[in-house]
């Protein structure tokens, strides 16, 4: 390692340390760059009405998403994301079987979302419209998005990472995508609640 490179790393560490101590909730503090979803700090949750009396939450454990951030043009951001529907976790030992029955995962092994339009509503909130492809059917959905925070994370070592977090939520009808299993007992309206921490690469 050259002397100049070592110096650069030491400088970077020195600069990064104070940033880690003070995360920001200002959208303007999101650094420019390419952001990729941290596979261990996302939550893709779906809520559905059960028997007409309660809401049940399931989650998907395998997902991926990325976007390029230009602070000068936040509305030009085009997120693309994918979820492995076979990673459905219903909190019980029949998750695999439910994934097959509800989402035909052996026939449709991937669900994707590609953003097409962003609207800034100010205060770190906005809407993100795009195409949701589920069970081979593509339809537009609009997420309500809110920015949570950005800052330097000390982990992973040695340098940590610059991260930014968002929440997103939308509602759609599963029957629009051909999911009708148990539609006598389990609701048609699905609320997707997503929590995502993106790392700047």
């Amino acid at each position: 390692m050259s002397f100049r490179r070592t110096l650069a790393i030491c400088l970077a560490l020195a600069l990064a340390t104070p940033a880690a101590a003070a995360p920001s909730s200002q959208v303007s503090d999101i650094a420019a760059g390419h952001y990729v979803l941290d596979p261990r700090h996302g939550s893709v949750m779906a809520k559905v009405l059960h028997m007409g009396v309660s809401i049940y939450t399931v989650r998907f454990d395998v997902y991926d998403a990325s976007f390029d951030w230009d602070p000068a043009h936040p509305e030009a951001t085009r997120l693309s994301a994918s979820v492995d529907p076979a990673s459905l976790d219903v909190g019980a030992d029949y998750s695999k079987e439910f994934a097959e029955e509800f989402l035909s995962v052996s026939k449709f092994p991937k669900a994707t979302f590609v953003a097409t339009t962003l609207q800034d509503q100010g205060g770190g909130k906005g809407t993100m419209t795009g195409d949701l492809t589920l069970m081979g059917v593509t339809k537009p959905v609009t997420f309500q998005v809110s920015f949570v925070g950005t800052g330097h994370e000390p982990l992973p070592l040695p340098f940590g990472v610059r991260a930014a977090g968002f929440s997103a939520t939308t509602t759609f009808k599963r029957s629009d995508y051909g999911s009708t299993y148990l539609n006598n007992l389990v609701g048609d309206d699905i609320t997707l609640d997503i929590e995502a921490e993106f790392d700047k690469k």
Binding site: Y94, E97, A99, E100, E101, S106, L182, N184, L185
Partner: protein, 204 residues
Amino acid sequence: MTAAALPGAPSEPRSTYSSVAIAFHWAIALLILTNIGLAWYFNTLKGPAEVAPLALHKSIGITVLLLTLGRIAWRLLNPAPPLPDHMHGWQKFAATAVHLVLYGLMLGLPLSGWAMVSSSPLIRVHPTVLFGVIPWPAMPFPGFSSDQLHDARHLFRTTHTLLGYIAYATIVLHVAAALKHHLIDRDDVLARMLPHLRRKGAAA
């Protein structure tokens, strides 16, 4: 009560079914008709309302399965009374064939229904409990992947529905033939299963 069937019994065959066979026949007939009615009923319901009649349908179906096993064992030990001599060979063949199909349906319908619910992931959420009291096991499907189970469930479901339609046709044939014997041929074929209908002095 079954002297006619035992070795060394009088050689003249009995002219009616044994009372045990009659009890099996009418108990199972009543359960089958109830289950057909329940199937029509819960298919008109939407939502959680269909759960209870469907559970009763399962309980009755398994009861039919168990009764049918007992009935077959009884039948093997106690032969049916003979059909009247005036019947043509093809008529006797048709009667026997319809009876065999009915036995097949009394086994096949509950077995396909049991397989259908056993291959559903819901069986793990809500196991079958006969009449809400007796736990009934699920058929095991070892080594089946979730998509193979899905395909299997659809196959069992189609089979169950198809057997249901075959049952309608077979029951209509069976009842129509019994009524034809009683009302047109005026013989005692129906009386073999309903002894109080026996005509005085009529040939068996």
